[in-house]
Amino acid sequence: MEPVVQLSGVVAVLGGFPVLAGADLTVARGEILLLRGPNGAGKTSLLRLCAGLLPVERGTAIVLGHDIAADRTAARHRVGLLGHSNGLYADLSVADNVAFWGATVGATRDEVAASLDRMGLSGRLAKVPVARLSAGQRRRTALACLVARRAELWLLDEPHAGLDAAGRDDLDATLREAAAAGATVMVASHELERAGALAHRVVDIVGGQVRE
């Protein structure tokens, strides 16, 4: 079967600095991949590149069968990204946020409710505006939005950070379910034990390159 992500010799540049310096990576369908590496290694950059937010300067990059070096918007509608920031609207309630992101892919009301439930947000919190949430509650909301989007390729940047023990369990279970259902998951994390137990495979990112 064709790999979901296939990078070879990918170079990406931000402000003149090569954030990725010739990265090679192949990820198969249904795989949960852990990206680990020191601060500034290029994990975030790699995920943003796969999401089509960072242009490919050199090399070839195929995501879900689309050549994103040629058109980086091509694969986007099938990709879901949770970055360092949450992408939430602070004035809207938790439920409204999840409903909005769900609506962008035509999710039904029930699917949205299920996503909220999945991240433990269905009680009092659902009606609270995001501006009034704690850091971990926001992270959960962002995860619920991601769940509602039903992507084929999940890109998560330090998803465990800020979550409590129950939240981490919810997250891991969600990712395992998604992978079992055929989605592909790439997780960048510094919490090696937790994420290591979750992942099928681990790669090291160092100096903008990938080491298996």
């Binding site: 090569p18 242009p55 100096g207 903008g208």
Partner: protein, 247 residues
Amino acid sequence: MPDLSPVSIARPTGTRFSRVLGIASLVGIAWLVVFGLFLSPNDATQKAGVRILYIHVPSAWLAYLAFIVTGVSSAAYLFKRTRSLTWDRIAGASAEVGVLFMGVTLVSGSLWGRISWGIFWTWDSRLTTTAFLFVTYIGYLAVRGLGGTHQQRARRSAIIALLATLEVPLVHFSVKWWRPLHQQESVAEGKLDGLMLFTLFVGIIAFTLLYVWLVLHRQRVLAMEDALDDQGLDVALAERRAEGAQV
């Protein structure tokens, strides 16, 4: 697209052609000085003030030409079959030179206004359009400076340039209808005598040569900057990979 930028960072931006062009425009300017300051006669009403005309009008025309070139090159960049960063750099270089010439028009026009009307500025339609045009292309240059990859810069600024090209006639006509010309030019068309007309002609030729020379060089400098970016990237890439090797 002919290769207008046979650059390598080690080589100067001059080529034989551009040197000839440079000398030609220098000669043209020398002619302009001789004709404009010494040989052409004083105007009946304007006296020596009329001599500003020989800078004012050519620079205005060249600014228009420059912005047209920017628009055309931007379109050429956006059109898939001719897509090349050279078009983007020509657009950028031309806009820079155009802004420069438009600045000269504004300053020379203001000084002229001070001499002949007694004021620096009036809100007549042509002056107002000129001012808006000037600002629009300063905005375009600001957008070029926003950063990103070369392709991103090129695409974004090409769109802004096309919008500007489309918007310029709108601005022009709306301003014209808003303020019908109430300031009559003191140098009416017919009044220019033969030598004056010739001097103006010399000025236009000289400025056109200067324009081509400036754009050619500026475009090459931009190409070098881009090449330097790429070359810097190779060095930075090696460093970045070495960062990995240490660990």
